[in-house]
Amino acid sequence: MADFLLWAWFGGIMIAAIAGPLGSFMVWRRMAYFGDTLAHAALLGVALGLLLHINISLAVVLVCLLLALLLSTLMHKRIIATDTLLGILSHASLSLGLVALSIFDHQTIDLMGFLFGDLLAIGQQDLMWIALACCVVLIILIWVWKPLLSITVNEELAQVEGINVAWMRTLLMLMVAVVIAVAMKVVGVLLITSLLIIPAAAARRLSNSPEQMALLASLLGMLSVTGGLALSWFYDTPAGPSVVLIASSLFFLLFSFPRFLRAS
């Protein structure tokens, strides 16, 4: 089998592993729309990276981090309902990214690759970025697991018990931003959120504890990546959408599972 397939699989597996716990938090805290907004902004990061001649991954991480901070400030100020704010920023940044990218020659950039991912084009350098980001996020997640869970259950209770809620919330957003930035390669900006949300949602049916759900989400994500790549290899389908399609199928399969096999 070809090397590039192995790289693609490695990259996808790492992303899926970290997407499990992080995606679970996004499901628990209803952050799906927030994830979409960050993902769309990633395209702006690509444009900026090309314009300023800096590493694209780095530019994407920076733009996502900045937007995450901006969002958390704006949400805190409550200028307008959060979902409206996200709706505006999400599509404004997507459009800005698309307009900015249109400056470049169509031959030099692969717009479809950015939008829907180009898993099979993952190189060694991308793999290193992914590995680094996943390790850092995993370590932070393990380190702050309990306070993060605590603010997810009830923010006021957590604050009275001495947890710095604002800081935890920001940290979670930053982690999501980092993972989105590196996951862009795998499924593209339009599909990233699904890789975070769908395995976690599918795992809910089978789990009795938060840790179980996070772990199971990782496994389901890895299964989706493997299945999606296989689909892409044998039937020549686009890799990113194939992965998402397998994940969705798993979700519906588990959703219609017989009741007695489910957890409460």
Partner: protein, 259 residues
Amino acid sequence: MSKVLLCAKNLGVKRSNRWLIKDVDLSLEAGQITTVIGPNGAGKSTLVRSLLNLIKPTCGDINAMKGLLIGYMPQKLKLEDTLPLTVSRFLDLGRHKQHQLSPQLWHNLLHECRAEKLLERPMHQLSGGETQRVLLLRAVLRKPHLLVLDEPVQGVDVTGQVSLYNLIGQIRDILGCGILMVSHDLHLVMAATDQVICLNQHICCSGHPEQVSQDPAFTDLFGPQGAGNLALYNHQHNHHHTSHGDIIAGQHHKDCDHG
């Protein structure tokens, strides 16, 4: 013995040009149960939340004892259905590394709250009363100096209310902690209280329950019917009201004239 745990001076909270609470002075002491009562919208929750440092007061000072540990029982717990969490995991989240109840005491409390059988149940399958008891357990878990309970008996039937108030009294005796409780329900609460604060934006009257029930400001706030019911209760400690809803409902009272 009576150590001041938390005191507030001249506390005021203003939101969109309206004072939610104003000129509130209070002091909470160890071993004392303080109950804040008042009609809906009187600012009871605002007061509690500003004392807990959850909202920033517009003016005034709050002084807390050094190292004050607070156990808080919120009015409601909204839990996402997507989060699988058993009762025992929920309780674990509130544990404090150093400050803990002795295992013996913890088992007693579990027993008193009839919660032993709940431990392995998922949080979102609990009934209203069960949730309240679990929330109370989480609040006392860290052996707090001060227990803050925002409408602890909400969604609990009358018999359950009496036993819950008894339980709260017991916890005070065992831990020697101060308790701040919010209620809009008059008669049940009074028996177990050392200090009543009657709130309607500002403090209308405060003091010992019997003293407060004689206060004209109190009658103004709750209407003669409500106040009368309270007096009735004071005479007949053992009788359980079944129509407590009537007492508060419909009593459209005048605001305090100094408000």
